[in-house]
Symmetry: C2
Subunit: 136 residues, 2 copies
Amino acid sequence: MTQNNNQVEECLDFTPKFDSNALIAAIAQDAKTGQILMVAYMNKEAIDLTIQTGYATYFSRSRQKLWKKGEQSGHLQKVEQMLVDCDQDCLILKVTVDAGQCHTGHQSCFYRAVENGKLKFIAQKNYDPKKAYKKS
Amino acid sequence: MTQNNNQVEECLDFTPKFDSNALIAAIAQDAKTGQILMVAYMNKEAIDLTIQTGYATYFSRSRQKLWKKGEQSGHLQKVEQMLVDCDQDCLILKVTVDAGQCHTGHQSCFYRAVENGKLKFIAQKNYDPKKAYKKS
């Protein structure tokens, strides 16, 4: 372990480590239940906007632009707490949410388990994405 | 949304989407408490070994080799369930653990919160990493 690693791990400076695309992974976790809702990516501007507004903003890799979660569906994520890991290359957003967070209609993007080499649905949809996204 | 996206999101085939380095992000979450312990990466071989052995194996990006979590510290992760997200580019391992999971001595790698542009420790160390790693 280098001195540099020790500094990053023990320090009180927030120095997020962005990848080669200038992004950092961010896990949205339900602040109340602990359920992991989704994983997305943030650039520096997304982090700044999230902190300034109190609502999660990500950077969409597919659309290559900032994306305030819920801007179309109305399913915003109110950020209660932001955590960073030891080497500062991953964030957790502890969020309060009102409805399903996955664009498929599920509460969480993680609605399938891997079992015996196949997938098994472990959750049902709890909103109709066609209605939620018709504004777009 | 393309037909291909729909197929990936609704299907029962486990087709993990690896990044340009042939890796997929994996979140280790305490199966009992819901606490997020760490985020690491897996290649296909790591996934296969995890499924075969029932214990989490990752691919270390810094060491560029397979890494059975706890092989040095003894702090193994027994995998109770593996989940995959809608676009199959991220995994959750729901794990049972006996002791701290971060090499710094904390239970979780996420032991600091971001507050007012600085970091704040929100957890204390619960084991001595110098003792745990002296075998290496």
